[in-house]
């Protein structure tokens, strides 16, 4: 039997890859994909908890996370299109209107 910790390790690594992608990439679409990656990493740990603790609630949460991820992707991609239409760029470091 595979220990729970292995799954959690896997989840942590995938999560950190997502974080690193989000923090370093310049392309805003890749940044969104990094966010999806992080969500999936969390899903992995939730499913493994659920399975190892004989409790369905983790999987219910995964269900909701997927629903929210879908919404977030729709909205986020809408923002990307609006941004691209106004600024003709998908490079996030060129978008700094909020600079103080």
């Amino acid at each position: 039997m595979i220990p729970l910790n292995w799954y959690l390790w896997l989840s942590a690594v995938v999560f950190i890859v997502g974080v690193a992608g989000f923090l370093t990439r310049r392309n805003i679409i890749i940044m969104f994909m990094s966010i999806e990656l992080m969500l999936n990493a969390v899903n992995i740990s939730l499913v493994s908890f659920s399975s190892f603790l004989n409790d369905m609630r983790g999987e219910v949460l995964v269900f909701f996370v997927i629903a929210v991820a879908a919404s977030e992707a729709a909205i986020g991609l809408g923002i990307i299109i609006a941004l691209f239409r106004n600024r003709a760029t998908a490079r996030v470091d060129e978008v700094n209107e909020m600079r103080g």
């Binding site: 978008v95 909020m98 103080g100």
Partner: protein, 642 residues
């Protein structure tokens, strides 16, 4: 019946209606509200005075105004003979002047505002005279001062008018400060502010002294209180040295000058001294101060009036001078004579002002004597009414001013006052001056040739009925108001004195009948010779007046510049105050301390935040990195805490 409550509250209602709805709804009909209200209170006053004549005085607390520990003040009304006289004066003058104003102010854009202030003034003045305690008196006192300020500065777009308003207000502050302290002293020493209680117990203070630590002087307590109260009267009634505001107050509309700065408000000081006669009578020092201040002011203002050219200013100085007369009377103990003069003066002085207003109306606002002349044939009603008013003020026998002035002079001469003879001499001389400058005004304005421009001559016309009818009615007062006080010497009953006796007491002059005849004869001669001299100087052709002015150029210059009092105040009070304000208050307190703090704090924040805002780069990833670092520390904290 409490119908007397209507007397002050009808004008108050008119004020509220006009000020709330005047601008949009009532506009040019504002005079109806005010005139109806003031006529209503006039009718009620007459009924009330009728009651007082039959001995029905009122002294009633309406409700407790302030009740704080031992400090109890109520809103209350006292209607005794003195109040009755004031009610007649105030409501009558006020009614006629309200009507006159409807014509005079016609078409002014602040029409509703004017009438609402006028009503507020009437309310305040009535509250002042009907008060039964010092605090309510003080309320009325300040409220009339406020209305005076509003109305002097009524044409506030004109800088001179708003300056004059401020001047009146500030100069009055000096007097009111003393008055306020006087009221506080009364409460501190007697524990009450109701007239009844104060006047009953003020005798207990005889012999007590108070030490003014600041000056290190010990002073008799009653004298101290009396002088403090007199301070207020000096300010309000424009006596030396606080007279400077009244001539400037002529910047206001003429009906205001007539009502507030001649007939009613400025006499509040005299009223107050008369009302407080139980206090003043106990202090010979204060009495002498009052008499001398009054006499000197009368002389001082009378001489200034000789050379002025602005008709309203001449009448204003005449008012100051006549107010001095009233104080002179009070100071020698002849309160009834002072109030009698107050009462007759109200009619002929209001009439003089309204006539001046009528002249201004015809001359399109021109005030300079030198540009008038020969107006008699253009405006006969104004001429005759003004002539009668001048005869009255000059003390020609038969007219109102004669009886009151004669009574003052006789009682000054014959009374027990140590300064009596001295003030009598001054008073007689002032009677001569008064006659002279009053007729100078008449002759220069109405006789001779017209000296203004052609357009002005073309424009000359008699004023409309709404203005001339009040003139004629006041004229009746200027003649007949004195008849209620014909002295016994002339076969009269001296009813006025009898009427006021219960409140003000009565001063019996000590002298023979022949002396009395002599005093009267001297004052008549003084008045007539003043008129005669004026006729001699101004009715003949040629520049006799200018020659005299040249020969006495120093005296003329001093008088023309009003003894340089304004300049003196400017140098002694105004300039140093402005200097202090600029260099100490603005320069140090405001500039360094307050602005230092006020500007320093935001500048500090600004400096800090301009550094801080560099954090906000607008880069999403930076924010996310900060979040990641934050999460790092949160987890570290949780792990360490476990």
């Amino acid at each position: 019946m409490d119908s007397y409550l209507l007397i002050p509250f009808l004008p108050l209602a008119a004020f509220l209606i006009n000020i709330l709805f005047g601008r949009k709804l009532i506009r040019d009909n504002a005079h109806w509200v005010s005139i109806l209200a003031v006529l209503g209170s006039w009718v009620v006053s007459v009924i009330t005075v009728e009651g007082v004549l039959h001995g029905n005085t009122v002294n009633r607390d309406l409700y407790a105004w302030i009740s704080s520990g031992g400090f109890k003040v109520s809103v209350g009304f006292l209607i005794d003979p003195l109040t009755a006289v004031m009610l007649v004066v105030v409501t009558t003058c006020s009614s006629l002047i309200h009507i006159y104003s409807a014509g005079y102010m016609h078409g002014d854009k602040g029409y509703y505002r004017f009438f609402s202030y006028l009503s507020l003034f009437t309310f305040s003045m009535l509250m002042l005279v009907m008060a039964n305690n010092f605090l309510q008196l003080y309320f009325g006192w300040e409220a009339v001062g406020l209305c005076s300020y509003f109305l002097i500065g009524f044409w506030y777009e004109k800088k001179s008018a708003s300056d004059a308003g401020k001047k009146a207000f500030i100069v009055n502050r000096f007097g009111d400060f003393g008055f306020g302290i006087g009221v506080i002293m009364i409460f501190l020493t007697l524990g009450t502010l109701h007239y009844d209680a104060v006047f009953a117990s003020v005798k207990n203070l005889i012999g007590q002294t108070v030490t003014i630590h600041l000056l290190g002087v010990q002073i008799d307590l009653i004298t101290f209180i009396a002088l403090l109260l007199f301070c207020g009267a000096v300010g309000k009634s424009a006596q030396l040295p606080l007279h400077v505001w009244l001539p400037d107050a002529m910047e206001g509309p003429t009906p205001v000058s007539a009502l507030i700065h001649a007939a009613t408000m400025v006499t509040a000081g005299v009223f107050m001294v008369a009302r407080c006669n139980p206090i003043f009578s106990l202090s010979p020092v204060a009495m002498n101060v009052v008499a001398v201040v009054g006499a000197v002011t009368a002389l001082f203002a009378g001489t200034i009036a000789l050379v002025q050219n602005d008709i309203k200013r001449i009448i204003a100085y005449s008012t100051v001078s006549q107010l001095g007369y009233m104080f002179l009377a009070c100071g020698v103990g002849a309160y009834t004579a002072g109030v009698f003069h107050l009462y007759t003066h109200a009619f002929f002085k209001a009439l003089l002002f309204l006539c001046a207003g009528s002249v201004m109306h015809a001359m399109a606002g021109e005030l300079d004597l030198q540009k008038m002349g020969g107006l008699k044939k253009h405006m006969p009603v104004t001429y005759w009414t003004m002539l009668i008013a001048s005869l009255s003020i000059a003390g020609v026998p038969g007219f109102a001013g004669f009886f009151s002035k004669d009574e003052i002079l006789w009682l000054a001469y014959s009374g027990p006052s140590p300064v009596g003879k001295f003030v009598w001499a001054i008073g007689t001389f002032v009677a001569f001056l008064t006659a002279f400058y009053s007729f100078r005004l008449i002759f220069r304005v109405f006789h001779g040739k017209f000296r203004g421009s052609h357009e002005q001559e073309h424009h000359l016309h008699e004023s409309p009925k709404v203005m001339t009818v009040p003139l004629m009615l006041l004229c009746v007062g200027a003649v007949a108001s004195g008849w209620v006080g014909v002295p016994q010497l002339l076969g009269g009953g001296a009813h006025f004195t009898e009427f006021l006796k219960p409140v003000l007491g009565h001063l019996e002059g000590e002298g023979t009948r022949s002396e009395e005849w002599m005093v009267m004869a001297i004052s008549i001669i003084a008045g007539l010779s003043g008129i005669g001299l004026a006729a001699f100087v101004y009715l003949r052709e040629g520049d006799l007046a200018a020659k005299i002015a040249q020969n006495f150029s120093f005296v003329h210059r001093v008088l023309w510049n009003k003894y340089y009092v304004d300049e003196l105040y400017d140098a002694v009070i105004v300039k140093p105050t402005i200097w202090t304000a600029k260099n100490v208050i603005v320069g140090v307190t405001d500039g360094k301390i307050i602005e230092g703090v006020v500007n320093g704090v935001p500048r500090l924040i600004g400096r800090f935040s301009s550094r801080l805002r560099n954090i906000q780069t607008g880069m999403v990833q930076q924010y996310a990195a900060v979040m990641a670092i934050g999460a790092f520390f949160v987890i570290a904290a949780v792990l360490l805490w476990q």
